[in-house]
């Protein structure tokens, strides 16, 4: 069972997501690369602790934040993938003391 499938074709670009290599497509955003790989949420909401939903993909909802090339809280939907790019998903800072 797949969540999303790829159609069409494109040049391959390799990025590193949470330490593992991932093949993305040139020109796409980090967000679509993650969605294609089955990542349903890229981080947790600092206020509620619940997983963030990636809602809009056009830079308005801030649900796709993750660390990209060391820059925290980057909008994955606005960042094009690049060869060798390092992406870190997972717990967001600020969930509290626990």
């Amino acid at each position: 069972m797949t969540w999303f499938v790829r159609t069409g074709s494109g040049e391959a670009v390799r990025v590193i997501v949470d330490g593992a290599p991932l093949e993305a497509r040139a020109g796409e955003s980090v967000a679509t690369a993650l969605l294609a790989a089955g990542h349903r949420s890229f981080a947790r909401n600092p206020a509620s602790g619940a997983p963030n939903g990636t809602y809009c993909l056009i830079g308005q909802c801030f649900g796709c934040l993750c660390t990209i090339d060391g820059r925290p809280q980057s909008q994955a939907c606005l960042t094009p993938v690049a060869e060798g790019m390092v992406v870190e998903t997972g717990e967001q800072v600020g969930t509290g003391d626990d």
Binding site: S29, N45, Y55, I58, Q60
Partner: protein, 474 residues
């Protein structure tokens, strides 16, 4: 401070491309700032790649890219200063712009604050999907239909074998359905959130709409027909929609035809039309008016797009949603008038070029009026519960907003101070529109009196460390 350019344009979608290239063609120095890496905005997302794609694959999406080839070619031939990857985070009243510039730096990416000034400004910041809060809408797996369409254009992603359910109404939903069908995808079910009786209400406007813009209307009915033939199960008059799941969407619950339904679902596309992005126009303190039928604020503009600030124009959907065709026209119109205002184009010449554009726009607006009525926004109360978060960032619920109103918060800014609604990173983009509707309903005030969230810099968060860099230069 560097010399100001004649014109800054924010946004490189249909309106921004037309505005920037038209202005440059009239000899203005133009700075075009766009957040995306490639020109085209949302409707022509990845225009150059899609138009160049194989017609058996993503090239099938290119049917909705009418005008994109010419617009992007004009940009590439123009001498204007085009800056992709530029996130504008502040615009001062004297039109100094601050943006975060993303640029490739060896193997990585670097970000730097840049500043520039302009004599005139055209905002072509486009539109966003109208937020439609309902229980569970923050769960991963619930996305805007526009987002699904963006995933298709940007990454070639279409829903896989887990299945897709679409909920909502409007042309974009129908278009997306047709686009994935062409690529072998489908929706298992469509939940029509329009209350019954909308077609009857809109029907008297149909002849005028056909007369005004036959192409759009024929395209629209074609899409409706394809929905009927898509094989998706259609539930009509859906209310009490809820998305359920633990860490992500697992199933849906809703009412239709007088009974409750449950559907397994891991991917839900939601759509209730689009509304102008008004962050920059609000930041600049421009006047806005509530559009009752479209249930949103729109910047107050004259027929050429000139705002309440004589040096600022708004072109395209950011000045009121009228679609991509008219966005190009509105961009051209605004650029002509800006050139005239800067003394670079004689009034007679600008008027001669502007008059037929205004006439065509007025004609095509008749179809828009029909669509506004047919797809009038879904009433919030159809799906809201007390514990539905209005604010996705801070998790502020309907009940918390109502309580703040009961405590005497008569407008969104007071509700914000009482509840933190709108204080998160999205700066109220996702709660603001619902917040105004909710407060107006609670207080009985017209939204023009309720007002909107005050927008403050930075329009998008930047890192405090970004300020450590050397003094920014253009």
């Amino acid at each position: 401070m560097t010399e100001p350019v004649d014109l800054a344009v924010i946004g490189a979608g249909p309106a921004g491309l037309a505005a920037a290239t038209t202005a440059a063609a009239h000899g203005l120095t133009v700075l075009l700032l766009d957040e995306q890496a490639e020109p085209g905005g949302q409707v022509w997302r990845q225009a150059e790649r899609i138009l160049g794609a194989d017609s058996s694959g993503l090239g099938k999406v290119a049917a909705s890219y009418g005008g994109a080839r010419e617009a992007v070619a004009a940009l590439r031939q123009s001498a204007l200063d085009y800056r992709p990857g530029a996130t504008v985070f502040d615009v001062s009243p004297d039109l100094r712009l601050s943006w975060l510039q993303r640029e490739a730096d060896g193997g990585g990416t670097r970000h730097a604050i840049r500043e520039g000034a302009a004599k005139a400004l055209i905002l072509a910041t486009g539109a966003m999907e109208r937020p439609l809060p309902f229980p569970g809408w923050t769960l991963p797996g619930v996305m805007g239909v526009g987002a699904l369409q963006t995933a298709l254009k940007v990454g070639g992603l279409r829903p896989g074998s887990e299945g897709l359910v679409l909920a909502g109404q409007g042309p974009l939903l129908l278009l997306y359905l047709a686009q994935i069908a062409a690529l072998g995808g489908r929706a298992a079910a469509i939940l029509d959130l329009a209350p019954p009786g909308r077609m009857t209400a809109a029907f008297p406007g149909l002849p005028q709409a056909f007369f005004g813009d036959p192409r759009t209307m024929i395209r629209g009915f074609g899409l409706l027909l394809r929905r009927a033939l898509s094989g998706a199960r259609i539930y009509r008059g859906v209310t009490r929609l809820a998305a359920l799941g633990d860490e992500s969407l697992e199933h849906l619950s809703f009412e239709s035809g007088g009974r409750r339904h449950e559907l397994p679902c891991s991917l839900l596309g939601v759509h209730d039309g689009v509304i102008p992005s008004t962050q920059v126009s609000r930041l600049l303190g421009l006047e806005h008016r509530w559009h009752d039928e479209r249930q949103c604020f729109e910047p107050l503009c004259d027929p050429d797009g000139r705002s309440s600030d004589a040096w600022v124009w708004i072109a395209g959907d950011g000045g009121g949603v009228e679609g991509a065709d008219l966005a190009t026209l509105r961009g051209t119109l605004a650029a002509l008038k800006a050139a005239e205002h800067l003394g670079r184009l004689p009034t007679a010449e600008s008027e001669k070029a502007a008059a037929p554009l205004r006439a065509r726009r007025a004609r095509q607006q008749r179809a828009r009026a029909f669509l506004d009525r047919l797809y009038a926004p879904v009433p919030l109360e159809n799906h809201l519960t007390d514990d539905t978060p209005i604010c996705r960032c801070e998790g502020v619920t309907t009940a918390a907003v109502r309580q703040a109103v009961d405590q005497g918060a008569g407008g969104p800014n007071r509700v914000k101070t009482f509840t933190r609604c709108g204080m998160g990173p999205c700066q109220g983009r996702f709660c603001g529109p619902s917040l105004v509707r909710l407060i107006a309903a609670e207080t009985g005030q017209p939204p023009d009196e309720t007002g909107a969230l005050r927008i403050r810099p930075p329009l998008k968060p930047i890192l405090l460390g970004d300020y450590l860099e050397a003094e920014p230069e253009l």
